[in-house]
């Protein structure tokens, strides 16, 4: 398959990009609003072309543990789900982080808590960026704001997962998953045939047996392992912070928003500027690692920052930690599947400015 321009849903773009990125396996379970990923892959039947395995598991729990098994063989494997399903996957995710395995997890977020709603939300930020399951760990979290980024972040996500031997999450939402946009798809990559030295692929005489486990009953060794994980996360913070800025050069007030919220803040920015308010936008692309340093720099020359999220206010806590009291920080958000309009964001910015 050559490079190609297509009109696709965000969910379909993820599926097609996975095939083209040379993924070895996808394991999923249906849940709205992301079932198109599994459906698209089943219809595309890549097993017959690239050899990519696609399997509908009996539950999200089984699916993430299939990912564990495949990742432990050094294979490029992934799963996807939406909020309630991602909660179920947390057991597997913490084991994967603890066993230092690479994999890609897609969360097309819907409103919660509980069964919540099937409409878009950004209320899984804490769960995605602070660990999600038990124990001290982080995922590397990518937040796409377009169908193009849904596609691009699949390959990027796999690359980062293998670079750090750490699970990577694409934190999307129901709006980006369901909306259609044009998307440039990359040419088909061949699936890797490389046998990774740490992978469980059968023990040849030339090496000791490989054991993939997250268990160590010796506390001193376990603590050393925890420190090793922390060092890895610090390295991510050094090397992998990604963000995008809009009109920050002369901005007095800054929107901080990711994904769908960042898109509507781009419009809100124009509306605010038309009214003479010098607004800017910082869009974090990686939510972990978070663009702390850049926000801290911008705090020196802004009068305030408004975190706009489709949640009760989760990312805003990271913005506050980043600026460390240097400037005013507030939050505006809608919940339950409601998406704020650019007009209401501007109104909220105005009242924030008034103080």
């Amino acid at each position: 398959m050559e490079k190609e321009l297509r009109l696709m849903k965000g969910n379909e773009a993820i599926a097609e990009a996975a095939i083209r990125a040379g993924a070895d396996g996808y394991f999923g379970y249906p849940i709205t609003p992301q079932s198109e990923i599994l459906e698209y892959l089943m219809e595309a039947n890549p097993q017959a072309t690239t050899g990519m395995v696609v399997l509908q598991a009996e539950s999200e729990v089984a699916a993430i543990n299939m990912v564990y098994g495949g990742a432990a063989c050094g294979k490029k494997v992934m799963t996807s789900s939406s909020s309630p399903g991602i909660s179920l996957k947390q057991e597997g995710i913490t084991y994967i982080a603890g066993a230092e395995l690479p994999c890609l997890i897609v969360n097309v977020v819907r409103g919660g808590p509980g069964l919540g709603t099937i409409q878009p939300a950004q209320s899984d930020y804490f769960q995605a960026t602070k660990g999600g399951g038990h124990g001290d760990y982080h995922l590397l979290v990518l937040a796409p704001a377009s169908v193009q980024e849904m596609a691009d972040f699949v390959e990027l996500g796999f690359d980062l997962a293998f670079k750090y031997r750490n699970p990577v999450m694409i934190l999307s939402d129901g709006a980006i998953g369901q909306m259609m946009e044009k998307v440039w798809l990359k040419p088909q990559k061949k699936r890797s045939e490389e046998i990774l030295p740490w992978a469980t692929t059968g023990k040849p005489a030339s090496r000791p047996r490989n054991i993939i486990t997250s268990l160590d009953l010796d506390s001193e060794r376990q603590e050393k392992f925890n420190l090793k994980l922390i060092a890895k996360y610090r390295e991510m913070e050094e090397n992998e912070v990604r963000f995008e800025e809009f009109m920050t050069d002369d901005a007095e007030y800054l929107f901080v928003a990711y994904g769908t919220s960042a898109r509507l803040c781009q419009k809100a920015l124009q509306l605010a500027r038309a009214e003479g308010i010098k607004a800017g936008l910082l869009r974090p692309i990686t939510l972990f690692p978070f663009p702390k340093k850049r926000l801290n720099e911008l705090a020196d020359r802004t009068k305030g920052m408004l975190a706009v999220e489709m949640s009760a206010g989760q990312m805003v806590e990271d913005v506050m930690l980043s600026v460390n009291g240097k400037t005013r920080v507030s939050h505006y958000g809608r919940m339950g599947g409601m998406i704020p309009t650019p007009e209401e964001v501007v109104e909220n910015l105005k009242s924030f400015i008034k103080g």
């Binding site: 729990v61 564990y68 059968g202």
Partner: protein, 258 residues
Amino acid sequence: MAEVTFNDIIKPENLAYRKSALMTDNVMHYCPGCGHGTAHQVLAEVLEEENLQERTVGITPVGCSVLMYNYIDVDFQEAAHGRAPALATAVKRLMPDKFVFTYQGDGDLAAIGTAETIHTCNRGENILIIFINNGIYGMTGGQMAPTTLPGMKSSTSPYGRDVSMMGSPIKMADIVALLPGTCYVTRQSVNTAGGVRKFKKALKKAVQYQNEKRGTCFIEVVSNCPSGWKMTPVESNKWMEENMFPFYPLGDIKVPAE
């Protein structure tokens, strides 16, 4: 006839049993008299005799055998509690030429992992599931298992398992035998020399069926737990024969058509 001396008996050429080359020298953590060590040794013998080391991926459970990867010299993945068949599914699908087995206890396979067990068998994944059924949670200190016999005492059924309140023991081998995905389901033991030989034969059959990709093989081993049952090893074996074997009868439950 010349008298046979002790020194004759222990000559290497007269050894009927030896430690498998695939058994490591690590000291086992199992309690004295426990069946796990024997089951490990027999499995290692089969993997060695069938030249499977280079293409075997084993999946260990959460339970007493969580540290099995310390004892058999093949590649291992350690699963979350009950999830071993899900891991094995992916390993086999992604690397169809490998020999993939799970080794699970009753809590792991028949309680928390019931869904994974049933669906893996139902899909007919080409893996071998070895199920050690000792009717109790050994590692956590003798709690009631899904396979605990009616009336049997445990730390969470201190007055004996009351089936009206706690349900009846599950016969997992019989359940998975009903699924079209399984090709070979058998129930064995390792507490006697005869039992060990039959278990080994069952493992060899499973290897053959796996090589032929005939579906899921499921070997249950009815075993003992001297510590959890609060008995000596000898008492526990006697109790197992008198109580466990009548409830979980040994022998083949499903064999493939030749």
